[in-house]
């Protein structure tokens, strides 16, 4: 190898401005600004300038965003969690059962739901890090299993406020306070509670990744597992915990889903994991691990959230929305690859 201070030269040649734009954060922010710009131009007769539009854009992205918080932790370790959509459905069913049918208070339902999600993650994590099953396969199995469990527990039908009585008739009960709280808006109706929950999750995930030793371990394991092991990093523990937390976030998303739908639907959350992955990837976190972060994912969540909103206020048909989203994912990932080349 020719020894030459490549890094020193490369950075000195760039100006501060170009470095900002070329940084991963700069790229992700540019993508978001582009979408917002499209929204400013095609503003659907001013609909884009109404605060309710922005509130709804963020609200609709929030459940996906909460999933993306956990997904970021897993993807940083060079893994993937396909089970989050099914875990969301499982937790939604359990949560609705506890809150509606058993009339349990929120302070028990919320932690219990998070524990259910975390347990699913713990199983996936153990399969990946102890049994050395590929993350794709292990979480695929968990995805199918959790969906089945959700259907088993709910008897295949939605767990709604129509509660079956002892004599076989149905009686409608009130929507639990927990669900009404989560589905409400605060600050003069300007922001949804689910959006605040997403921000809280993003903050937790961000702190974990950039301020905790465990987060450093995740980057190390994702960047170079062998070097990490030989540096005394507890690889198995760190990786398992990433899946556990991913499950916990899926649990939180499940609570929000149940609250918004006012029921536990065992069919909920299908393909949500793919949207969460897309949000992480558009942000610039590499699927090969060791790079990225929660700030980037937050930008990715906004990008996809606003993209959907801009397209829907302009009455673009769903078929076109899906196709465009696919194209944009490819473009976003491609620009990130050219940065590294």
């Amino acid at each position: 190898m020719i020894d030459q201070p490549r890094g020193d030269l490369a950075t000195k040649q760039q100006t501060t401005a170009s470095r900002l734009i070329l940084s991963p954060g700069g790229r992700a922010a540019t993508a978001l600004l582009l979408v917002v710009f499209v929204g400013l131009v095609f503003n659907a007769d001013g609909a884009f300038f109404k605060s309710a539009t922005h509130r709804d854009a963020l609200r609709q992205a929030s459940v996906y965003g909460i999933l993306a918080c956990g997904m970021t932790l897993v993807i940083v370790t060079a893994g993937i969690d396909l089970a989050v959509g099914s875990v969301l459905a499982l937790v939604a069913v359990c949560c609705a059962t506890m809150a509606i049918h058993w009339n349990w208070p929120g302070w028990i339902v919320v932690p219990a739901s998070m524990v259910i999600g975390g347990l699913c993650g713990a199983v996936s994590g153990t399969l990946v890090s102890r049994q050395k099953i590929q993350p794709f396969i292990a979480t695929l199995a968990m995805m199918v299993f959790a969906r089945g469990l959700a259907k088993y527990l709910s008897g295949g039908s939605k767990v709604s406020t129509a509660v079956k009585q002892a004599d076989g008739t149905f009686e409608y009960v009130d929507v639990p306070y927990l669900f009404r709280l989560i589905d409400s808006r605060v600050l003069a109706d300007s922001v949804s509670v689910v959006t605040l929950i997403f921000f809280a999750c993003a903050t937790i995930s961000w702190i974990a990744l950039s301020h905790f030793r465990w987060g450093r371990f995740l980057y190390a394991v994702g960047g170079n597992e062998e070097a990490s092991r030989l540096s005394g990093v507890p690889v198995t523990w760190a990786r398992t915990l990433a899946y556990v937390w991913c499950g916990v976030f899926a649990g939180i998303a499940g609570i929000c889903q149940a609250a918004q739908e006012q029921q536990g639907d065992p069919e909920a959350g299908v393909a949500y994991e793919l949207i969460a992955i897309a949000m992480v990837v558009i942000g610039g976190t590499s699927l090969s691990g060791g790079r990225g972060g929660m700030m980037l994912t937050t930008l990715g969540v906004f990008t996809i959230g606003y993209l959907e909103k801009v397209l829907s206020i302009n009455a673009v048909p769903e078929a076109w929305r899906l196709m465009l989203t696919g194209v944009i994912i490819v473009i976003a990932v491609q620009t990130q690859r050219s940065r590294r080349a």
Binding site: D3, F212, Y219, G223, E226, A227
Partner: protein, 515 residues
């Protein structure tokens, strides 16, 4: 002048072969000839250019200077496949078998006997068995490669090369995974191949094999051909002298007073009858019953050629192979048995691996993250990282090792090789180890960084750190070490101190030659 028959047809003729990687020349004006019915040994230290020369013949390196003639015709192998078609079969050190496929499929990959696209399984199995029988292998052709031992896989690799019916056979350290009886079987086979008119180019670091097999020997040193002679005209001592050379490297001086470590210094670290089984205890040992000691403030060097087991010894000591070790490890008078690198680090061991890209650094992470990775406990409270403390550690490393980096937040992948190595070493110094193990600390770095690392080693030594290091360069080994152990085929074959060491003796011991 040459023993087989001087009139035997020339199979390979190389003249004025040169090869450069970028600005670095690795081969310079090499001439080489292989005749039918001879074993022509290529000898030389690690990095002398043997493998590069073979790779030109095998079509791995297509760009080279000079002329290559195969079977009397000028040829430039464009790819390994093309080389095969030209009649060259290469048995590489690294396996080229597909683990999940059967023995028969591996042997006939790409040339399955078939009728109109339907594979003739019966013929394929019969042919496979024929080749396996020639090697005395009693295994089922339908067995998967991965279910076989490493030694058997190596023999199948050889069977595959033979089944190509090649007249030119290259064997690059074919016995590294074989035991004594398997080696004998291979040697019998080589004798048969010679009789059948094949020519064999044989690379080995084992003196015993060279004495057994060689008809002619060509010695390479620093990319140049030093001599070609009949084996009978090259006694062991002369061969070794030619391999080691006589050059003294004036650039490398000890800039410090070399005060020898007295016998009175206490032992800091010792291993006794230490064996390492990287593939599990049912497989062959890479290190066999090794014993050595390191005193306080002493630099102990480990010398050896490829396949000596030095890296596995380091890994075994460090717990990288878990419980697949036997024997004793003693640090500061207490027995230790770390089950993994994490425990080893806590107990005061540190290991710089010989491949910083693969197992040393997290390339996607910053200088700071890499510097503190092994000592992160010191920089956090209840799991919360104290960034200022981390930053100070990285600055300490930068200043102590004169690290050149635009910023400490820079990804290490952007640093030069020498600076990367400094980060990798700095990471281990931050753990304040009692024993620092350095596996090839100067591999792939420039001369200036090398000199700096020499000086640092001297400084740590004066601070009382015990260092166990390996290097494949004999001058470097002699320059840095207070004492030297030489390893050959997984065993410690000799021990020298400053006064008794010489390049020839080290090379002799490394090749397992009788003294």
């Amino acid at each position: 002048m040459i023993s087989p028959s001087h009139s035997a047809p020339v199979l390979v003729e190389m003249s004025a072969i040169g090869k450069r990687f970028g600005s670095v020349g690795v081969l310079d004006n090499i001439g080489f000839e292989l005749r039918a019915g001879e074993v022509h040994v290529l000898a030389g230290e690690n990095g002398a250019g043997k493998s590069t020369l073979i790779k030109i013949l095998a079509g791995v390196h297509q760009e080279f200077d000079g002329e290559l003639r195969i079977h009397g015709k000028a040829a430039r192998p464009r790819s390994p496949l093309h080389a095969t078609q030209l009649g060259v079969a290469v048995i590489h050190q690294e396996m080229s078998l597909i683990p999940s496929m059967t023995v028969a499929d591996n042997l006939f990959l790409g040339r399955l006997p078939s009728h109109f696209g339907v594979v003739d399984r019966r013929r394929q199995f019969a042919d496979t068995r024929k080749w396996l029988d020639r090697l005395g292998l009693n295994i089922d052709p339908g067995q998967a490669i991965e279910s076989l031992s490493i030694a058997t896989q190596q023999l199948i690799e050889i069977a595959k090369a033979l089944s190509l019916n090649a007249r030119i056979i290259v064997m690059d350290e074919p016995t590294s995974a074989l035991n004594v009886s398997e080696t004998e079987r291979l040697f019998d086979l080589i004798v048969n191949l010679k009789r059948d008119g094949c020519g064999i180019i044989y690379i080995s670091h084992k003196m015993y094999e060279i004495q057994q097999l060689a008809d002619r020997i060509t010695i390479l040193r620093n990319g140049k051909s030093v001599a070609t002679a009949a084996a009978a005209d090259l006694p062991t001592s002369k061969l070794i002298r030619l391999m080691v050379g006589r050059e003294v490297e004036p650039a490398m001086r000890r800039s410090f007073d070399a005060k020898p470590i007295g016998k009175s210094q206490p032992n800091r670290f010792a291993i006794r009858n230490f064996s390492v089984y990287p593939q599990g205890k049912s497989q062959a040992a890479a290190v066999n019953q090794a014993s050595l000691t390191v005193r306080s403030g002493e630099v102990v060097g480990l010398g050896g050629l490829q396949g000596s087991g030095i890296s596995q010894l380091f890994g075994g000591i460090f717990g990288a192979y878990g419980g697949n070790v036997t024997g004793e490890r003693t640090l500061n008078g207490r027995q230790i048995a770390p089950a993994n690198p994490r425990q080893a680090t806590r107990q005061g061991l540190a290991l710089l691996t010989n491949d910083r890209k693969r197992s040393g650094l997290v390339m996607s992470q910053s200088v700071i993250s890499n510097t503190t990775l092994a000592s992160l406990e010191q920089h956090c409270r209840l799991g919360w990282l104290i960034k200022s403390s981390e930053y100070n550690a990285a600055r300490r490393t930068r200043d102590a090792m004169s690290l050149h980096s635009a910023s400490l937040d820079q990804e290490v992948s952007l640093l030069s090789g020498g600076n990367q190595q400094k980060v990798a070493i700095g990471k281990w110094l931050e753990t304040q180890p009692d024993l620092l193990m350095l596996d090839e600390p100067t591999r792939g770095i420039d001369v200036g960084a090398k000199q700096q690392i020499y000086e640092l080693i001297e400084q740590w030594k004066s601070e009382g750190l015990s260092i166990l290091l390996s290097t494949s360069e004999i001058p470097e080994l002699m320059l840095l070490s207070d004492r030297i152990y030489v390893m050959h085929s997984g065993s410690v074959s000799a021990e020298f101190n400053r006064d008794t060491a010489s390049p020839e003796k080290i090379m002799e011991a490394a090749m397992g030659a009788r003294q």
